[in-house]
């Protein structure tokens, strides 16, 4: 048995009774129509790899890389198999084996390093990047690239994604944000806001609006210093030790804040924070602190719903539909709060999206790395979106939001529909902005 094999969660795989109840919900099984793209198949492969019957790199890596990590299978499983644990263990083993064999292309390794080690742990650098994007979009450079068709030459279909990016915030707006915002009416709770990476650069405005919404329902909001990336991208790529480092920095930063709740507005980050106690369970001096931290994590929507009602001023006379963020729904079990908030919007007509709980195929950087499968999943999703005839498509996670924007373009719906973050829409109804 080699070292990587030992990282595979063999015991957990025994809980799977192979009933297949998870098959009909798995988005990759639906589009690829074979067992190796299903939870049941993947679990069987992890078990086989742990028993040394198949090779971690040659046989396990492919099917695991194709998993979105959406974890809807976990919700469907009658035997309560912790698929998340199995997946994370598999990724860790694959990551280790890949590093040892230097199995990835130099470009991929360089990009990974850039993203995971140089970029995400440093909020300032992401903001700088967002500034460059602003410049690119505002100076006509973007149009030039599009007209000349340069984007075709970018790796990982980046051109297509770049075109779907929202307008980056004006770089100077990053400065001068207060570290504390007082509640607008009687104080109901003291909350610490998790700013995130992408949310705090590209979606800086959404963060600002989220904080204002919290204040509007009576939450004193602090932005703890020293917080960093949640580590989800790292953990999902099998880089557990990097993820742990980030987790510890966050726990420390938020402990100092003395807040009742830790609030996120990104489903993916929220799920990661809420599972810090799993991540750190094997480190006795951290396990308890992680547990306490995880218990305080809340999604923005649940607090707004609980402390509301929001002071709506403007009618949103539109047809609205909602796409769940997988990690918000399947890991944090937040399903009704965002919907209730939408229903409370004056003037809005809310329609349920058929299969709203199904992944859109964005899944971190899955859409870059597994472009083809991701687009198959997305195109299926957009068919359901088209059926709703909605004008506004709401999500609660930056990755989903970008993917939805891309989907709208792919489906040719740009003139009929826009995708927004829940906080943006609620804020618009409260301020008319």
């Amino acid at each position: 048995m080699n070292e990587w094999q030992k990282l595979l969660p063999h015991d957990e795989t025994f809980k799977c009774v192979k009933c297949g109840y998870c098959l009909p919900v798995c988005p990759t099984y639906k589009v690829l129509e074979k067992e190796s793209a299903s939870p049941r198949g993947r679990i069987a492969l992890v078990k086989a790899a742990a028993e040394g019957k198949i090779d971690v790199l040659q046989h396990l890596a492919g099917p695991i890389d194709l998993c979105l990590g959406c974890r809807v299978c976990e919700v469907a499983c009658p035997a309560e198999v912790k698929y998340g644990v199995i997946l994370e263990g598999a990724k860790q083993a694959i990551h280790g084996a890949k590093q040892e064999k230097k199995a990835e292309t130099p470009l991929f390794r360089w990009l990974e390093k850039l993203i995971f080690q140089w970029l995400f742990p440093y909020p300032g650098r992401l903001k700088a990047l967002s500034g460059i994007l602003w410049f690119y979009q505002k100076t006509g450079f973007a149009r030039l690239v599009e007209v000349l068709g340069f984007s075709r030459f970018l790796p990982y279909h980046l051109g297509e994604f770049a075109a779907a990016l929202p307008a980056a915030p004006f770089p100077l707006s990053f400065f001068g944000r207060k570290e504390r915002l007082a509640p607008r009416k009687g104080k109901k709770a003291r909350v610490a806001f998790f700013t995130g990476c992408i949310m705090d650069s590209l979606f800086f405005e959404t963060n600002r609006k989220s904080i204002e919404l919290l204040a509007a329902v009576g939450c004193e909001t602090i932005l703890p210093k020293g917080q960093t990336c949640c580590g989800a991208l790292h953990a999902h790529a099998g880089k557990i030790s990097q993820a742990k480092k980030l987790a510890k920095r966050n726990i420390e930063a938020f402990e100092r804040s003395g807040a009742d709740w830790v609030v996120t507005n990104a489903g993916g980050c929220g799920a990661m924070l809420a599972e810090y106690h799993h991540l750190l369970s094997d480190e006795p001096e951290w396990a308890k602190r992680a547990q306490a931290f995880a218990a305080k994590c809340r999604d923005l929507s649940t607090l707004l719903e609980e402390c509301g009602p929001l002071p709506f001023k403007k009618k949103i006379s539109c047809r609205i539909t909602y796409q769940d963020s997988c990690h918000l729904r399947n890991v944090q079990n937040v399903i009704s709060a965002p919907r209730k908030l939408l229903h409370s919007l004056p003037g809005a007509e809310v329609v349920e999206l058929c299969g709203a709980g199904e992944c859109c195929g964005s899944a971190g950087i899955y859409n870059l790395i597994q472009y083809e499968t991701s687009m198959k999943v997305l195109d299926r999703k957009m068919e359901a979106v088209r059926e709703t005839d909605a004008e506004i498509l709401v999500t609660s996670n930056p990755g989903c939001l970008l993917q939805m924007r891309l989907g709208i373009r792919r489906a040719g719906l740009e003139n009929r529909m826009k995708a927004v973050h829940l906080a943006d829409l609620l804020h618009e109804a409260c301020t008319g902005e």
């Binding site: 025994f14 809980k15 009774v17 192979k18 009933c19 297949g20 109840y21 098959l23 009909p24 129509e33 074979k34 067992e35 190796s36 299903s38 049941r40 198949g41 069987a44 492969l45 086989a48 019957k53 198949i54 040659q58 046989h59 396990l60 492919g62 099917p63 009658p78 035997a79 309560e80």
Partner: protein, 470 residues
């Protein structure tokens, strides 16, 4: 081992590159079902039509390659396991609903459609497809036909075999034949449709099915009856049926399953009860009201300590939720579940329950009983840990004794899960040697080279017991 490259090429010619899976990882994911054992196929093929399958069968016959059809892979008896390697024919992409004919109340389907999908489509047309195995979200109609599956609705509405009136089948030698037709009544020649149903993929590959639908019953009502003695619940079942009430569903849970559910997800079940019955009637609203009232009265007559009537649809769903939780709840205790489905005549239910209790004590196992009590199809489930060899040996012996008890009481080895690789050793006990021999001869007539799903149903020389340890 492994297939000759020329055969692989031929398979790709018949289908296409994308539908022939050869890599070890792909093959590993078709090496199991929901029962025991892992058997690697040499290749997995996704056919898309009867003609393709006919060509594959001709090739397999010529080259003597074993072929195993597979649907959702939910079999609890090893049916789709490629025991001899060879080709797994994965039927899941032949999954179209071809047509629902509302005038004649029939549906034409491809075999890979899931049971639940057909049920939904029937419902949309205002109709009803009653067979309801609990695996319906995953299991395919092809698998249901091959195993003759049933569910709670079996008591009143029957099982899969009662809803099939015609089939298109590819024979092991690669001929496409049609059995039955589009009419409920049909006596032209031998009833090959019935022969194929329940044949566990050993006689032919089903490529199309003509299924009977019925109008959807307009009303339904449910109750839960709580008993202090498990035998009383058995008597109540007979009492209800004797009094001319035919419930749409009649299920029971014993104390061990009640406790497991309450531990797993508190549902307000009485922990001290020895058994509970769950009963549902459906039909015309007035008849439904009358029947549920009468059923409640009979339960009380047979010493039910409490009868809970579901007042509305929500409460009805709540009652059934407890039953649905049994399966997940018991798998919390230990990871390996051995689901048996030995079935006895209804009148023998109390006796069978007693025998099961003795077996549990003798072998010191975690044995839980729940199931379709109304039709005598009890589900004794043993919960164990496949990593514990000693325990698994005891399970093997206990299972053999369960089969023996069922047959001695005039029942059968399997009510709905099939024989597969799990129960061949006991076939002769139930059928006698002449009976088993007749079946063997039928198999030989259909499949002279024994290439279609070999090592199933019929015992191999020297095979005398269940083997659960790998």
């Amino acid at each position: 081992m492994g297939l000759d490259p020329s055969i692989v090429k031929e398979l790709i010619r018949i289908t296409d590159e994308e539908r022939v899976l050869l890599s070890l990882d792909e093959r590993y994911t078709y090496a199991f079902d929901a029962s025991f054992g892992t058997y690697l196929p040499d290749v997995v093929v996704f056919p898309q039509s009867a003609t393709e399958i006919a060509e594959i069968m001709k090739l397999a016959n010529r080259e003597q390659i074993p072929v195993t059809p597979r649907g959702g892979g939910t079999s609890l008896s090893g049916g789709p396991l490629p025991v001899a390697g060879g080709i797994v024919l994965a039927m899941t992409r032949m999954n179209k609903l071809l047509r629902i004919d509302r005038d004649n109340l029939i549906a034409f389907v491809e075999p890979g459609i899931t049971t639940a999908e057909l049920q939904r489509e029937a419902e949309k047309a205002g109709l009803f497809y009653p067979p309801d195995p609990s695996s319906s979200n995953v299991s395919t109609i092809g698998g249901n036909l091959a195993e003759n599956s049933g569910g709670p609705h079996g008591l009143k509405y029957g099982v899969t075999k009662h809803y099939v009136i015609g089939l298109e089948v590819v024979t092991p030698q690669g001929e496409i034949i049609r059995t039955g037709g589009m009419t409920v009544k049909n006596v032209t020649g031998y009833d090959l449709t019935s022969l194929i149903v329940g044949s566990e993929g050993t006689l032919g590959i089903i490529t199309k099915a003509v299924l009977r639908l019925i109008p959807k019953p307009p009303a339904r009502k449910a109750l839960m009856a709580i008993f202090d003695e498990i035998v009383d619940s058995g008597r109540a079942i007979s009492g209800i049926l004797k009094n001319g009430i035919l419930p749409a569903k009649l299920e029971m849970m014993d104390q061990a399953s009640i406790r497991a559910v309450e531990n797993y997800q508190p549902s307000g079940l009485p922990l001290d009860a020895a058994a509970i019955l769950l009963l549902e009637v459906d039909g015309h609203p007035a008849a439904v009201d009358e029947e549920i009232r009468k059923a409640a009265q009979i339960c009380r007559q047979y010493a039910a300590r409490e009868v809970r009537l579901a007042a509305d649809e929500a409460e009805r769903a709540e009652l059934w939720k407890a039953r649905k939780l049994v399966s997940p709840a018991i798998s919390q205790v230990k990871p390996t579940k051995i689901s048996e489905d030995a079935t006895v005549p209804r009148s023998k239910i109390p006796e069978m329950l007693e025998r099961l209790r003795q077996i549990r004590e003798k072998y010191q196992l975690h044995l839980v009983v729940f199931g379709h009590a109304g039709d005598g199809n009890l589900h004794p489930n043993i919960i164990a840990d496949s990593r514990d060899r000693d325990e698994m040996k005891r399970v093997e012996e206990a299972v053999a004794e369960i089969f023996k008890a069922a047959v001695e009481l005039g029942g059968t080895l399997s009510g709905e899960h099939g024989i597969g690789t799990m129960k061949p050793a006991f076939m002769e006990m139930e059928l006698g040697s002449a009976g088993l021999d007749m079946m063997r001869r039928i198999k030989q007539a259909w499949d002279p080279n024994n290439i279609l799903n070999p090592f199933k149903i019929f015992p191999q020389p020297g095979q005398t017991r269940v083997v659960l340890t790998e």
